[in-house]
């Protein structure tokens, strides 16, 4: 999409998902998924509800561990086979490098906006109160939430909460950001403020994997779009092809239904 994307494609992938497989008992929700994301690339995952989008995203930071396959971030395997204690140590370090934003924000209600953003940097990076505050102010300024730094989450709108959640993730200086339907729980008029923050991250070449139902947003910021259905990647390609001229019938059907729904 951008000139950077092109020459980077021949490099070793930044996030590399190989033969990802996930079953809940007899139910196979991810079937041999392969996904390579280059540094600075932005990938959108679309597809009907229940197709496994969240499961795939949550496998990347091991919230829902895979039952088969490998996930790599740069030269580190994320889902390594290690004894419990070592694995916990390993995964806690890996997770510091992967930011995640949830549909329902999941802000800590007992902490102020400042407390939400500074908790992990203080606990994990040993930042002093002063340094953590400075970091929080920078990140909150970036998402336009600096004036609300001493508010509690319950005093914020959904869009504001989500922007704070993004700042909380950014405060750990992650290499990759994962978004799981970050705007689906928002009132329509609050979607744009969150989209703007995500666009800003895109301009800064943050590597992002975005599960979304917002096709126009996906089209405007993403380098690549994956369409998932029933645990497989049915089709993938650049947004202009995927949205304007998809080849697969299931993709066409999904987009037709979805776009029809959006106009109502």
């Amino acid at each position: 999409m951008n000139d950077q994307g092109d020459h980077m494609t021949d490099q070793k992938p930044f996030v590399d998902i190989q033969h990802a497989q996930k079953s809940y008992g007899a139910l196979e929700v991810l079937k041999d998924i392969n996904l390579q994301v280059q540094k600075g690339q932005i990938v959108a995952i679309i597809g009907p509800s229940g197709s496994g989008k969240s499961t795939l995203l949550r496998a990347i930071n091991d919230l829902d561990p895979l039952t088969g396959g490998e996930i790599w971030l740069e030269d580190k395997q994320i889902n390594k086979n290690l004894p419990h204690r070592q694995y916990e140590k390993h995964i806690n370090l890996v997770r510091q490098e992967i930011g995640m934003v949830f549909q329902h924000f999941n802000l800590f209600p007992h902490l102020t906006v400042r407390g939400n953003v500074t908790l992990a940097p203080k606990m994990l990076k040993g930042l002093s109160d002063a340094d953590a505050n400075k970091l929080a102010e920078e990140q909150l300024d970036k998402v336009g939430m600096l004036e609300r730094i001493d508010y509690y989450p319950s005093q914020l709108s959904g869009g504001q909460k989500q922007r704070v959640a993004i700042a909380r993730a950014l405060a750990m200086n992650p290499k990759v950001m994962l978004f799981d339907e970050a705007t689906s729980a928002l009132d329509p008029e609050l979607v744009e403020e969150v989209n703007l923050v995500m666009k800003k991250l895109a301009e800064e070449h943050m590597t992002m994997i975005i599960v979304t139902h917002e096709m126009s947003f996906a089209e405007s910021v993403c380098d690549r779009v994956l369409f998932m259905d029933q645990g497989v990647v049915v089709e993938e390609g650049p947004p202009e092809v995927m949205f304007r001229n998809p080849k697969n019938d299931r993709t066409k059907e999904f987009l037709r239904k979805h776009l029809a729904g959006q106009h109502r």
Binding site: N61, N92, R95, Q96, G99, F108, H110, L119, A120, M123
Partner: protein, 210 residues
């Protein structure tokens, strides 16, 4: 009649002391029990569950009798007051285990996920995210446990701890006034329970504001 009042006041003090010590022991055992019930090791979970079923599944009076009368047979020598505190404390701990566990598992899974995704360990997540929220939820139900436990302190009269109920019974013989004696004990219990209830409400309000 007036002659009995000092004895009742002293007995009320014993009841308060019993209640305070039993609450402290109950809270400690409740925290240990809840941790056990939520452990990732099946054996420890089983031990936690067994503790709860045994002590909630049998009368507190039987537990006290086993400890006080049966204890010496297996080498546990306790005076009546000690047996009362330990017996009631273990009993209250079983109820408090369930209260604390309930408050902890009531915290939204999304909170734990959010904490883990920024890299916090299981322990840090518990300490800085789950427990501060669960504490607020457990104040009221723990208050209910404490209320039940204060009333259960009356049982230790049966192992002759000189607390309110025992004192009321003791003066029936000399005064021939069972109605008045038990009424005095009842009123004193009510005062103790009322003050405790107010303290719990105050704590609960304070936790909600902060």
């Amino acid at each position: 009649m007036q002659k009995v009042f000092p004895f009742f006041l002293e007995a009320a003090w014993i009841t308060v002391l019993l209640s305070v010590l039993t609450t402290i022991l109950g809270l400690i055992l409740g925290a240990v029990g809840a941790s056990a019930r939520l452990s990732r090791f099946a054996l420890i979970r089983f031990l936690g569950a067994a503790y709860v079923s045994v002590f909630r599944g049998t009368p507190a009076l039987i537990q006290l009798f086993i400890l006080y009368f049966g204890g010496p047979q297996i080498g546990i020598q306790l005076d009546a007051f000690q047996a009362g505190v330990i017996g009631l404390g273990i009993n209250a701990g079983a109820y408090m285990t369930e209260t604390m566990r309930g408050a902890i598992i009531a915290i939204d899974k999304g909170q734990i996920e959010a904490a883990r995704t920024v890299g916090l360990s299981r322990f840090q997540t518990m300490r800085y995210v789950v427990l501060p929220q669960a504490m607020r939820l457990m104040i009221r139900p723990l208050g209910v446990n404490i209320n039940a436990m204060i009333k259960a302190t009356a049982l230790v009269a049966a192992i002759s701890v000189v607390e309110l109920t025992y004192t009321a019974q003791r003066f029936i013989g000399s005064t021939y006034k069972p109605f008045e004696m038990f009424l005095i004990a009842g009123i004193l219990y009510m005062i103790i329970i009322y003050i405790t209830g107010q303290a719990v409400s105050w704590l609960d309000r304070k936790a909600r504001i902060s």
